[in-house]
Amino acid sequence: MMEAFLQRIASRLGRDVRTSVERPQWKHAPQQTVFQGYSEDELLDVLKNQCTRIHTTLVETNSAELYDTVEHVIHAHGGGPIIIANDERYEQFGLSSFLKREDVYVWDATRGRDNIEAAERANIGITWSDITLAESGTVVLLNNQNQGRTISFLPTTYVALIPKSTIVPRMTQAARLIREKMARGERVPSCINFITGPSNSADIEMNLVVGVHGPVKATYIVITDR
């Protein structure tokens, strides 16, 4: 089946089926020079500016004030229930007490579908950004069994926790990082999300409606000293 399919393509191209192809060195590489040489602070400025264009609130804080800031953001969005990933960064950033709050559900793979029901009930879903793209205002999530996909999609509000050190110029750096992991023999996550603000649609008379199937609101919390 596959052989005949590929054979047909090869013969249309006037040659035999190719079993190896060298990925070429592209003649052009405009993606490499976007925000080249920008400092972390400059990239943060780019991110802040972009957030004003994607209906996303950006809050700056530092590790000392992180708990209070998260608390404040939760309050501003109407409180819990909240669903979060089982992520070691909560501990690393001094937020372990957060995991024990009554209104917080921590993703637990052993509980199966309960997790999804919890995500559907939740008002707020929170995940940590693995890579953050300044140009487009995007958080990149490398999901895993401790971080379900639905945390970032089913709740009404989406909150991303962003250590400043995760900010890179654009998607180019994220793509390269993922390829480097592959080259080291790491498994590509079954689901990688590039999330840029809340969900939206312009399908009705080209009017922008913010909040369609995914979250209706989005807030980014940038931790500036990490």
Binding site: V21, W26, V34, N200
Partner: protein
């Protein structure tokens, strides 16, 4: 062809389109907005031409080595526990999809927007099996609820409908009680569809870009519907046209940047999702089973021909958004789910000249499409090649043009007839002339004056005027 929209003959469709005042206003407004946003996004980058050159280079290389990259993709999908099916025809694709769905005894299917599933008419095949297929993209959902009204734009499928019409449809079909405000309409769709995602047996998606090196598929949306379609049901089926592939993550990244900027002027859309295989061991959401269906359906016939560049297309609709002809006649006039310049090139190739011989003529050859294309497909040149093929090889110029040209040829070839013709013209069309303009012309003039006025012939002929002037 299932790609075909059955809405009468070409001239009837055009007639309907140009008299649909709302649609024409909506299309003109949307074109303006999308075109401006694309230009702004391009300008922001500063070196857009270099980006286009890279896009073209990547697409050309991938097509030239398509067999290799498809084989690599297939191997890597299988390594991650996915199933791959190569479908030469639409029937083979639908048979396979129906077999998978039947084996799961699935009743409810949620779907995110996909042009190739429209092309192969997959929904009908699944409905015949007794399944309920629910479109989840807001635009597609609106069309589906409205008794399967066909899409009129590749990116904004319900562009031809206004909010009052959508409100009426929702009231009639979905027990909707609120107003025509887009926010309220969208919220209603959100509630209706949330329940469907949670209870569906199978999720079906298209594929913006498959990544050969990792065996992944990339989905681009603003609504987040593709994410719920692939996170909640137990089985995922992804259908892709065989050319929708890139070598690695790094090329995917470049093409996604070109796609979102060209389609809607966004740096990235809200959700770009890269999925590899089914859910991993220990994971709770995501599908237990993943099937990738790779569809040829006429595409290989385009390879190796002068039309090969059309397969570079990344379905951004930038060409649609600048086309002066699309602006006036709207998407349904093309009689194909692929409308605008890309549709006028692609539809005759996939669906044959019998059904689509008029489309290459639905163009002014102004080349705005070629200039807008982010992967540099020479669209207007391909339209011209179609015309050559139709006339030379097939002997099938659309009948009206053939007749008009024949009459003109006859008249112009004989100096006596030409003299006579140009002399009697003012008298012949006199009854149709108002203020030196003809707005309802007779005979061959009708096709022209249906959409614009025609200047009435000068009462004094050029040759008489010149002669007179020479005597002065």
């Amino acid at each position: 062809m299932a790609m075909k929209i059955n809405m009468g003959e070409f001239h009837e469709r055009v007639e309907k389109g140009i008299h649909n005042t709302f649609m024409r206003g909506a299309v003109a407004g949307a074109q303006e907005r999308l075109r401006t946003r694309r230009l702004e996004a391009a300008e922001e980058l500063g070196n857009w031409e270099e980006w286009r050159a890279l896009g073209e280079e990547i697409r050309q290389h991938t097509l030239e080595n398509l067999d290799y990259y498809l084989m690599q993709l297939s191997e890597n999908v299988k390594k991650r526990g996915g199933h791959v099916f190569f479908a030469q025809t639409a029937e083979e694709a639908n048979d396979y999809i129906c077999r998978v769905v039947a084996s799961k005894q699935a009743k409810k299917i949620v779907k995110s927007k996909s042009m190739v599933t429209e092309e192969i008419h997959m929904n009908a095949a699944l409905e015949k099996l007794g399944c309920e297929v629910i479109e989840t993209d807001l635009g597609e959902y609106i069309l589906q609820v409205d008794d399967h009204d066909p899409p009129s734009h590749i990116v904004a499928p319900a562009l031809h409908k206004n909010k009052e019409q959508i409100r009426d449809v929702f009231q009639e079909k979905l027990a909707y009680t609120k107003t025509e405000k887009p926010e309220e309409l969208a919220l209603h769709a959100r509630h209706m569809l949330r329940h469907e995602y949670m209870t569906a047996d199978v999720g079906i998606t298209g594929c913006n870009f498959a990544i050969a090196e990792s065996g992944s598929i990339t989905l681009v949306t603003n609504e987040g519907n593709a994410d719920l379609v692939t996170a909640l049901p137990k089985t995922q089926i992804t259908v892709m046209g065989m050319e929708r592939i890139v070598p690695t993550f790094e090329e995917m990244e470049v093409l996604v940047s070109l796609l979102t900027r060209s389609a809607v002027g966004q740096k990235l859309t809200s959700y770009i999702t890269v999925l590899t295989g089914p859910r991993d061991k220990g994971e709770v959401d995501g599908p237990e089973e993943f099937h990738l269906v790779i569809v040829d359906n006429g595409r290989s016939d385009i390879l190796g021909t002068e039309f090969q560049p059309v397969l570079q297309c990344i379905r951004c609709a930038a060409c649609v958004n600048v086309c002066p002809v699309y602006r006036h006649i709207g998407g349904h006039s093309y009689g194909s789910i692929y409308s605008g310049p890309i549709g006028a090139v692609l539809s005759p190739l996939l669906g044959g000249y019998d059904d689509y011989k008029e489309l290459p003529y639905a163009s002014t050859l102004c080349a705005a499409c070629t200039e807008a294309c982010p992967v540099k497909i020479p669209l207007h040149e391909l339209l011209l090649k179609h015309r050559q093929t139709i006339v030379e090889r097939e002997g099938k110029a659309p009948i009206s043009e053939k007749l008009a040209m024949k009459a003109f040829g006859l008249g112009a070839a004989s100096s006596l007839l030409y003299k006579l013709g140009s002399k009697v013209a003012p008298t012949a069309v006199h009854p149709f002339t108002v203020n030196d303009r003809i707005s309802k012309g007779p005979g061959p003039l009708k096709a022209w004056t249906d959409i614009r006025e025609f200047p009435a012939p000068e009462k004094e002929r050029f040759r008489d005027w010149l002669k007179q002037r020479g005597n002065e």
